[in-house]
């Protein structure tokens, strides 16, 4: 799996959160937020991580940035284990790996102006000060398409699109190589969305950035990603190049998820199979496939045994015992 090009390698990542209760506050059960997830991202490319709320996609994003510690598994950044302080110091790693949040505004200190918000990482890492800091901030603001004069303003005076761009400028301050975008487009209005999407693509090209793009919006993921990984209740169920997954699905959940997205063209209205039931709780999940209770293709084996993610076609991974295959084109 190791390849010189692979900038991020995730191996068997597990994160269980305790549910505390009882007299001594001992864990009574465990939320299996992320269960045995593995993937790699090549330098300069984008992996889109999709799934419904509570599927563990945000937890994966935080684990990959070492913002929380895993229960098990490893993450390698440029072949160094990020959880091993001897191999990868936390401060150095922070310079290389950054995050863009869904709601930039709530990640700002509202008493600080744009200049101190964008410049803060540079100050913390002792990389710039005084006049140089001002110049660097102005340059960063220009990079994200904002006027440098905005530096004197405070977050509440900015529009939603500007706030998101200020957030992106701050993420870029340390010249990172890898950025996790956790629903960076979702809170924006349609007319503003395109501006931020174009910006993220331009920046990727300009700085050869690698993205882990987390979103529930399959349209946006399709536009931005080279690969798509689908998660369901803590498990990765399918992973393939974007074009491939829109042409062929090898997991029934991916099929249900992608066909549930309404098509933005009234000429293409069609009857569709609707997935019944709801997402099960990730608290102490039963053995077997987690999609089993909602799956039309479920067999006896699916209830007892947990399917592993295997390469079913070149570069196309799926975790399903059934010989599921759908190649109806999804537009």
């Amino acid at each position: 799996m190791t390849n010189a090009e692979d900038i991020i390698i995730v191996k068997n990542l597990i994160k269980h959160f305790p549910v505390r209760g009882g007299l001594m506050g001992k864990p009574t059960s465990w939320v299996h937020a992320v269960d045995d997830v593995s993937f790699t991202i090549k330098k300069g490319q984008t992996l889109g991580l999709v799934g419904e709320s509570g599927c563990g996609k945000t937890t994966v994003g935080r684990l990959v940035l070492n913002l929380i510690k895993p229960t098990g598994g490893e993450v390698y950044f440029e072949n160094k284990n990020i959880y091993d302080k001897k191999q990868c110091s936390e401060k150095e790693f922070r310079k290389c790996a950054q995050i863009i949040f869904q709601d930039a505004f709530s990640s700002f200190d509202i008493r600080k102006n744009v200049e101190s918000i964008v410049g803060e990482p540079l100050v913390v890492h002792g990389l710039a000060g005084g006049k140089e800091l001002k110049e660097r901030v102005a340059e960063l603001l220009r990079t994200v398409g904002l006027k440098p004069e905005i530096a004197r303003e405070y977050p509440h005076t900015l529009s939603s699109g500007q706030k998101q761009c200020v957030g992106i400028a701050r993420s870029l301050a340390l010249k990172p190589k890898f950025i996790v975008g956790d629903e960076p487009i979702s809170a924006l209005d349609v007319s503003v969305r395109a501006q931020v999407l174009n910006l993220m693509r331009d920046l990727q090209e300009k700085f050869n950035l690698t993205y882990l793009f987390i979103s529930h919006d399959i349209r946006v993921v399709q536009y931005l990603s080279n690969y798509i990984a689908v998660m369901y209740v803590g498990k990765m169920v399918e992973m393939a190049p974007t074009e491939e997954i829109f042409a062929h699905r090898l997991h029934p959940y991916t099929e249900a998820l992608l066909t549930a997205v309404p098509i933005e063209d009234p000429r293409l209205r069609r009857p569709r199979e609707i997935l019944q039931g709801e997402v099960p709780s990730p608290v102490d999940p039963p053995p077997g496939c987690r999609f089993y209770p909602r799956c039309h293709y479920a067999m006896k084996r699916c209830k007892e045994e947990d399917p592993q993610l295997v390469e079913k076609a070149p570069g196309h991974f799926a975790a399903c015992f059934a010989d599921f295959h759908s190649s109806e084109r999804i537009i």
């Binding site: 209005d189 395109a194 529930h216 399959i218 349209r219 549930a260 997205v261 063209d265 009234p266 609707i274």
Partner: protein, 335 residues
């Protein structure tokens, strides 16, 4: 708009029409022009989508129609909302109360904030039935369970005794729909009914609404920002921008032959996402601050087609010549 134009908006089977609705909010910073001269009509049995970005006035329009705007700070300054030959904006509260629920029902985006957390869902549906249909006790309970079954809630009899917190988001939205439909309303206004739900649950609710429409024949006003939902559900579409209606047309024209540059812009940004190699076309800038809307056409600072007159004169909302029921607010429509 001249009186003759207003007449023309009304068609034979119009069940609700809104004329020159103006709702402003008076806050410390000044006067917010949230809804500024909205005209629309709804035909019997159709689904009309009111579409726009956050803050465009689509929800305020719906709330104004039922006189549910908190005052202060809000105030409906002028306009008419004609339903069954009566003006909802100029009738007694007691009369209006008979229309709310029974004539026009409303479901909101966030079901948790509309449901009473300390009552079982069954009792809440029963309340709606008892108030509007004059039946009580066991009969009302049977009816409530029937409504829960109608919206496909599994094990309806036992769910009847559940409290809202025991239900998932999708289930709560079903309960809201059951409550709204319990009164057999002529018009159902659904304000972002699926915005807080996951896609697979959204698909379930959309399918449910379509089925119920076929079974009951309710007229639906669907308020949303999601063009996918619009393409899937709507017969006609009214597009709002900065407190005004900028275009109304059938759903096919909106997506394939839009008349207003703003409509074209938002449709393009969505459709272009399909093609990875294509750079997205951008509507520059942001929607205006409605405390101080720009002079002339409100879209002019962001419009690629704007000319001198667009900066000076606010265009009238008028019928597109030679069209079948298409309306646009633009000096230079694209069709």
């Amino acid at each position: 708009m001249s009186p003759s134009q207003v007449e023309a908006v009304q068609q034979r089977d119009t069940v609700l029409s809104v004329k020159n609705l103006v709702t402003h909010f008076f806050i410390r910073e000044g006067e917010v022009h949230a809804v500024d001269g909205v005209n629309l009509h709804v035909e019997k049995g159709e689904t009309l989508a009111i579409v726009g970005e956050s803050g465009c006035g689509k929800s305020v329009t719906a709330l104004s129609m039922l006189r549910l705007i908190a005052s202060p700070p809000g105030k409906v300054l002028s306009g008419n909302v004609i339903f069954q030959g009566q003006d909802l904006l100029h009738m007694k509260q007691s009369q209006l109360r008979k229309i709310r629920g029974k004539g026009i029902a409303l479901i909101l985006q966030e079901p948790m904030s509309s449901l009473n957390p300390s009552w079982t869902i069954g009792r809440q549906i029963m309340e709606a039935i008892e108030l509007n249909q004059g039946i009580k006790g066991k009969e009302a309970k049977e009816k409530a369970i029937e409504m829960l079954k109608l919206v496909r809630i599994p094990a309806a009899e036992s769910r009847f005794n559940n409290y809202p917190h025991e239900l998932s988001g999708g289930m709560k939205q079903r309960v809201m729909i059951a409550m709204a439909l319990a009164c057999r309303p002529q018009i159902l206004i659904a304000d972002e009914p699926t915005a807080s739900l996951d896609v697979t649950i959204q698909a379930q609710i959309m399918e449910l609404m379509k089925q119920l429409k076929r079974e009951i024949g309710t007229t639906v006003i669907l308020i949303t920002h999601d063009l996918g939902v619009v393409a899937e559900m709507a017969d006609r579409v009214t597009i709002m921008y900065a407190g005004q209606v900028v275009e109304t047309a059938d759903v096919f024209s909106i997506f394939h032959n839009p008349a207003h540059p703003y409509t074209r812009g938002i449709v393009r940004t969505i459709m272009d996402l399909k093609d990875k190699n294509h750079r997205l076309e951008v509507i520059p800038g942001d929607p205006p601050n409605l405390l101080n809307p720009p002079p002339g056409c409100r879209f002019n600072p962001r419009c690629a087609f704007a000319k001198e007159i667009c900066r000076e004169k606010d265009p009238d909302y008028k019928r597109v010549k030679g069209s079948d029921g298409r309306w646009v607010r633009c000096h230079f429509p694209l069709i």
